[in-house]
Symmetry: C2
């Protein structure tokens, strides 16, 4: 019998909680027999939602948490004070080993703070980066870090490159993934102070496939699998991806509706374009893992619906099966004492 992955789902976080969270949980256990979901939130509300579905009752367990952390709350305070919130209660299930992973569409800040203070970092990891997959012409690349640690130091970026490479190889299945650092020119001497300091450190690593700098222009073409970036620029990349994609697709739809001729054409191209748009839909890839913690924490979009939630839960199975955290530990420990 294969192993079961226990995933805590924050039933109260996100714009579409609890309905879409519960739907996503039911969908996930129907897709895979290897997962069990702990639905954490207000018990009555969650159970009421669950009544809509028929599902294997042994594989969804409702855990009561009476409080909810709102997106606007200052995260450190919220984690400290709301001891009975879905985030705090859920993360403690991971800390205690009852569950393997925690998935939430709730407050990014609270998830970052909770992940570090309640679950804790793997020994040797300086900062845990948030690493979403972003769509490219070739498939998807991992953007690491997209917002967890602004004003990071070179040694942090080095760890991001390593953890990102492990993730892409063993969770996404890309052999010897190409890692690159976001820069404003292709040459080694280009960049800001952080990139100039980090570049030679990445260059001398032997355990990753570092291909040098990547200009933002080349990211959508899929020229690298692991896109290493300080969180501020990474966040700009992630959000511009979302905004520009939406505006361009909106403009194209508008253009197609502008004349009678184009309206007829639009009717004919629609099925084919649906596929294209889907390839650039972030929901297809599930949430973003917060790497380097003792346990897996996944942050989905605040706007996540059942599909993204279900995909995020399924993602956790591979993460556990591939023993990603053991690989991260081995890689960091092999290095300790060698440089910096």
């Amino acid at each position: 019998m294969s192993e079961i992955t226990g995933v805590v789902l924050d039933a109260m976080g996100g714009d579409h909680a609890p309905a879409e969270m519960v739907k996503g949980a039911v969908d996930a256990i129907n897709r895979s027999r290897q997962v069990k979901v702990f639905l954490v939130g207000r018990e009555e509300t969650v159970k009421h939602e669950l009544e809509k579905y028929t599902y294997d009752k042994n594989r969804i367990q409702v855990v009561n948490a009476s409080e909810v952390i709102e997106t606007a709350e200052p995260p450190v305070n919220a984690i400290r004070r709301k001891k009975d919130s879905s985030i705090v209660v859920g993360m403690k299930l991971v800390k205690s080993g009852e569950a393997d992973a925690f998935v939430s569409a709730g407050s990014s800040g609270a998830i970052l703070v909770g992940g570090q203070t309640l679950i804790g970092r793997i020994k040797g990891i300086e900062r845990p980066p948030l690493a979403p997959l972003i769509p490219t012409a070739k498939g998807a690349s991992l953007l690491i870090d997209c917002g967890a640690n602004v004003d990071a130091r070179p040694s942090h970026l080095v760890q991001f490159a390593r953890m990102g490479s492990i993730y892409m190889e063993h969770v996404i299945g890309i052999k010897n993934p190409k890692a690159a650092i976001v820069n404003i020119g292709a040459e080694e001497e280009k960049g800001n102070a952080l990139v100039k300091e980090t570049f030679p450190l990445l260059k001398k690593l032997t355990d990753i496939n570092f291909i040098g700098s990547i200009e933002a222009r080349d990211i959508p073409y899929g020229k690298a699998d692991v896109i290493v970036s300080e969180a501020f620029a990474g966040n700009v990349i992630l959000k511009l991806y979302e905004g520009l994609g939406a505006v361009l697709i909106g403009k194209i739809k508008e253009g197609m509706m502008s004349t009678l001729r184009s309206k007829i054409g639009a009717f004919l191209v629609k099925p084919a374009l649906k596929e294209t748009v889907k390839q650039f839909d972030a929901a297809e890839y599930g949430g973003a893992p917060l790497l380097g913690l003792k346990g897996l924490v996944v942050k989905t979009h605040g706007s996540a619906k059942a599909k993204e939630i279900s995909n995020s839960i399924i993602q956790c199975i591979t993460f556990k099966e591939q023993r990603i955290n053991e690989k991260i530990m081995a890689c960091i420990q092999a290095d300790s004492g060698s440089d910096e």
Copy 2:
């Protein structure tokens, strides 16, 4: 009789020099009677290109420059050593007052260095930012700085916001343009150290319409007219715009060609979509001004063709007519001694 704007065009810079440069110059003088172009480059080559056209010979003057600065050359060295290059000879015409503006599709680095050392900064301006217009759902926004000054200080960003606001109001014609600082959240307390320090300085300015932070997601929607950013993030925004736009449009074309049905549809929507794609074509907006210099310097894309060159030359007329540099000087001097 109205004033004539003298524009120096680097005939040797860019992927399509000299042919497209010369074509752009001829096009510009045919579009406006208020401009005279100095075509700087290898005289024989330039004259040979010019023979293809009929044009008013009083309004294009060929100025010989025997050397060319290549894109790969270290800029400081190139400007110092190649005294007879098109960039050095051309910029000296602006310095001496014989011409008002300098336009080039050549080496960004050499243009930045030359602009500062040969033409010089307006008194009080700490750093000259490169400020391209980027397409949005509403029209275009000014992205300032997109790569001239990495690791900038808060006082630099404050000057960028002011210069950008003057440019958008008087060159592009947007009344009371909305200025925002690129950030990773909408709240004032979010951001990296630079943004946190700069935000309150921008907030207390009374001469610009500062609307607070802008997340990268909202840039393509046109939520601000002046997008203030440190050069590294600005460069990432500009280049991701180019790359993502190209990949998405490419994917959509590919999608349209995937079935017989969609091919017929594509034929019908094509004319309407051409308009949409044109709205997101950077060439429509001409080049990016390097603001804050004693004279106007405009950097076009390296891949610029005649249309972008011609648009860039025409842009210089408004810049001179609106006395942008006098407005920048007045604004900076009004401020001197008041803060920082």
